[in-house]
Symmetry: C2
Subunit: 307 residues, 2 copies
């Protein structure tokens, strides 16, 4: 029996619908909508897609969203200045600096820029104050993807308390914050990564397995306890047919799509896991749409707190 | 073969000896010693002991340490004022507010007071900015007990990378920060707590087991994989002879000490674990002395960063 589909797109729709009413109430009482300012430096194709989706989704939910574009060769001073302008803005409640910044800005640039964002407007939840508050169990603005994962688990009735959650990946954006959220919801939590010894065996102890490592199809059936809930945060573009063929058999519609387009988007979880897991997020259509919905939710939260 | 003794008192002595030279160099070049300001509210007997040990140890290591006493019935405003005075002080580089504050100040008082401490002087590492920086892998001031545990593991040559560490307890002071430190040192980390299902079985998967729950002798031999390294953070006063008898057999010197004094200090780990573990911290004389040594180290670090 194949795994239940954890339909992130549908949960995101529900979440946005509920948000819309709150956004309307905010707008009616404050005579302005909640506002999101996005800083985009350069023209990374992936970032262009993400930003377009964020702007569209914000507009459909009744928020104001403004894009502050900077050229590919903008200096760090210029990027920081754009953030400070949004910090001072009365109509922008949330600020998001689209990652990645151009490599020419140097390896420390993102941290420097993220640290400049007013913690009260930090809708990505990257500022150390917001990270610290999350750890201390008094969260204010929390990273969107981890929040989306919790929303998905809750809205699909997946119990968390007392269950063993294994998180593969220890990034600041997904792995560590989702581990903390699950811990505070009384899961027993294990964090794994590239140095973990016998990773499949550790992963297979999970009732809830969260995978966020950015490696196409890395998690195969031997990583998964039968019946486990698996959350696939990966979003990898595969443009090598041999690799695509390792994920999908000849004749599979996704492989046919590859042959038409020359690439296919896949998660970190191998499709064969559908045969083992109890429930699994599809890619695309799983965690991705929820990340955007929770970004809008964070913006409204920041707006309500600021007023 | 009984477990090796992880001699925290000896490691703390080494650490303090190395600190002393750095403290002397600081004092010579800045014409003043690094300074620690301690705020103590009321007369909790445990706190009196801890504060006395901290003052003594600071003095022996060449630091200046001043005690700011407030009466048991001090108001929250008065406690905050004491912290602000130390924030503004030129001769105090580190500030410590001794926990617990009197219960009459209310359940939120500690968080309110800790948040007032200048992050640059926050030698306990409790301010959200310092917690956030720890999570993000750019630690500045980190809680002393977790730092002491890492110091002990390193100075006794205990490998961390790739090993499975299980932390029992998820406090902000010990459990969560030690889990993060071990994770950043490339351990696979599991965090357990009161809601963990089948705790002994999970604990017994650990190569390194850290116990910080405050329950005398809770961790018995069935929690421990033979040969594991066990760090006992607990410090519990047992004043019931029946309970003491469950920990020590008749004729044991610790039970004889109980009979003389009417109480005995024990850790969270049952003494029978000496027969199973590969290495174990004694209580007292394990993690406790290291916590104070790392407090002095944090004070020097804050002093050096401030100047």
């Amino acid at each position: 029996m194949p795994a239940n589909v954890l339909d992130g797109a549908e949960v995101a729709r529900q979440t946005r619908n509920e948000l819309r009413a709150r956004v309307e109430a905010f707008t009616a009482s404050r005579k302005r909508p909640p506002g999101l300012g996005i800083v985009l430096v350069g023209h990374d194709p992936g970032s262009e897609v993400y930003v377009r989706n964020k702007l569209k989704s914000a507009g459909e939910t009744g928020l104001r969203a403004d894009l502050h574009r900077l050229p590919e060769d903008a200096s760090l001073v210029e990027v920081v200045a754009a953030v400070r302008e949004l910090n001072a803005s009365g109509v922008h409640d949330g600020i998001l600096v689209q990652s990645p910044l151009p490599a020419a800005l140097g390896p420390e640039a993102e941290q420097v820029v993220f640290d400049e964002v007013d913690p009260a407007k930090d809708v990505d939840g990257f500022h150390p104050v917001n990270v610290g508050r999350l750890v201390q169990g008094r969260p204010f603005l929390v990273p969107c993807t981890p929040l989306g994962i919790l929303e998905l688990l809750d809205r699909t009735g997946t119990p968390i308390k007392g269950r063993h959650a294994v998180v593969i990946g220890r990034s600041d954006i997904v792995g560590k914050p989702v581990a903390l959220l699950l811990l505070h919801r009384h899961a027993t939590v294990t964090i794994c990564h590239s140095r973990t010894v016998d990773l499949p065996k550790v992963a297979a102890t999970a009732d809830i397995l969260v995978v966020a490592i950015g490696r196409a199809g890395f998690v195969t059936r031997d990583f998964v306890k039968p019946g486990a809930t698996v959350i696939d945060v990966g979003m990898n573009r595969v443009d090598d047919r041999e690799q695509a063929r390792k994920l999908f058999p000849e004749g599979h519609p996704r492989l046919a799509a590859f042959d038409r387009r020359g690439s296919v988007l896949v998660g970190d979880v191998h499709p064969e896991v559908w045969e083992v897991a109890g429930a699994l997020t599809p890619v695309p259509g799983g965690v991705g749409p929820l990340t955007i919905a929770l970004l809008l939710s964070n913006t409204l939260k920041a707006a309500e707190a600021r007023s």
